[in-house]
């Protein structure tokens, strides 16, 4: 039976619970048709770290834009057409040779949706949330981002309404690259602050 391709895998208990709530809300007329697909499409293809990467690349190329971005993150991000829930109060924290920034939400999963999309699973799981404020230098090294002792680490716990975006350092040997080429170098992890470019 288990090898048969004619029967779909039985639903797991959590899938059965999701289906139960979905069915009841549909019967009550509360779940608009197509809403699930709309949510899925929005977060799978319309918003994500490609938006933040454009912000970073623009800041690397245009010093005046960078100045505006650091002074009022929300407004500067809106210039590129990005904004919305979990992005209404943006603060951009800039890395340098001497300072490394990293973001976390110890209480839940706050994350700048308009520029990074939905957070990855590890960002929302207890190990990251507990350890990034307790032993960030050790955790960053463990995650593949070792930092010299003399580099100051600034952790930003998104515990109120502000959402953060890390502005990574522009990598060496990227002179002459276009904005699109630069954006392609910017990773989600570098904008969370668990990687350097």
């Amino acid at each position: 039976m288990s090898n048969s391709t004619h029967h779909p895998a039985p639903m797991s208990p959590v899938e059965q619970r999701v289906a139960a709530l979905e069915a009841l809300l549909t019967e009550r007329g509360l779940l608009p048709e197509g809403f699930i697909e709309q949510i899925t499409r929005r977060y799978e293809s319309e918003i994500g770290p490609m938006n933040g990467a454009k912000v970073v690349a623009r800041a690397w190329l245009d010093p005046q834009y960078k100045q505006r971005l650091l002074a009022d993150g929300t407004a500067a991000i809106a210039e590129l057409g990005f904004g919305g829930p979990e992005g209404d109060h943006m603060v951009i924290v800039e890395n340098s040779a001497a300072v490394h920034n990293v973001i976390v939400c110890t209480l839940c999963s706050c994350y700048p949706w308009p520029v990074l999309g939905l957070p990855p699973a590890w960002y929302k799981d207890p190990p990251y949330r507990a350890r990034m404020v307790r032993e960030p230098r050790a955790l960053l090294a463990e995650m593949g981002c070792p930092l010299p002792e003399e580099v100051e680490i600034r952790v930003w716990d998104s515990s109120a309404e502000v959402r953060y975006l890390v502005l990574p350092q522009r990598p060496p040997a990227t002179e002459g690259m276009t904005e699109a080429e630069l954006a392609a170098l910017v990773t989600r992890d570098s904008m969370i602050g668990v990687a350097r470019l």
Partner: protein
């Protein structure tokens, strides 16, 4: 909380690992909209999960549990309907332990503190929702940034009353927070005005 082990980190992972995760996310949006849940009430519905269930279930199972709990508490569905449809147990979050807030007190329009001021986080342990992380309670820090004036989550989670207060980003030295010798690490926590007292 300690001893949680390695971060299961992957530089690239899908937004939703299974279709049910996207459905759970959508259902929460539907329920929160229908019952007009505040951010505080939503977050508290997850915080009220049985601790063992919370720690052993995935993020979107938290959202599903929150959606179902809010739907039952606001009378959209009943727990027995959910269990009948699911064909088994449907764990919901535990009851609210805090009393409803009736009088929120006056809004605070002017920040009590400025950048560079030393502050100490109040040491208190409310039975309900709060956005004051336990690891900074009783600790002293320095105001690093003034942010906007926002509704206090501790109040909005427990009724329709609202109070608005200034918020601050407060910088703590990690060695002071944890009593160890780690160097060159600052942890910034965003806190409402009433969480703080002068230091």
């Amino acid at each position: 909380m300690q001893g949680l082990g390695a971060v299961d980190h992957s530089p690239a992972e899908p937004v939703f690992h299974h279709r049910w995760e996207a459905v759970a996310r959508a259902l929460l949006a539907v329920v929160a909209g229908a019952v007009e849940a505040s951010g505080g009430e939503f977050r508290h519905s997850i915080e009220r999960m049985e601790p063992g269930h919370y720690l052993t279930s995935s993020y979107y199972e938290h959202w599903l549990t929150a959606a179902a709990t809010l739907a039952v508490e606001h009378g959209l569905v009943t727990g027995s309907e959910l269990e009948a449809r699911a064909g088994g147990r449907f764990p919901l979050s535990g009851p609210v332990l805090a009393l409803p807030v009736v009088d929120a007190g006056p809004d605070v329009g002017t920040p009590r503190f400025g950048v560079g001021d030393r502050v100490r986080v109040r040491e208190w342990h409310p039975p309900g929702h709060t956005r004051c992380p336990r690891y900074v309670r009783g600790k002293a820090g320095t105001v690093a940034r003034l942010d906007g004036i926002y509704s206090v989550p501790d109040i909005e989670a427990h009724g329709t009353a609202r109070r608005h207060e200034p918020t601050y980003s407060v910088r703590f030295d990690a060695a002071e927070l944890w009593g160890d010798r780690q160097r060159g690490v600052r942890v910034h926590v965003d806190l409402w005005d009433s969480y703080l007292e002068p230091s």
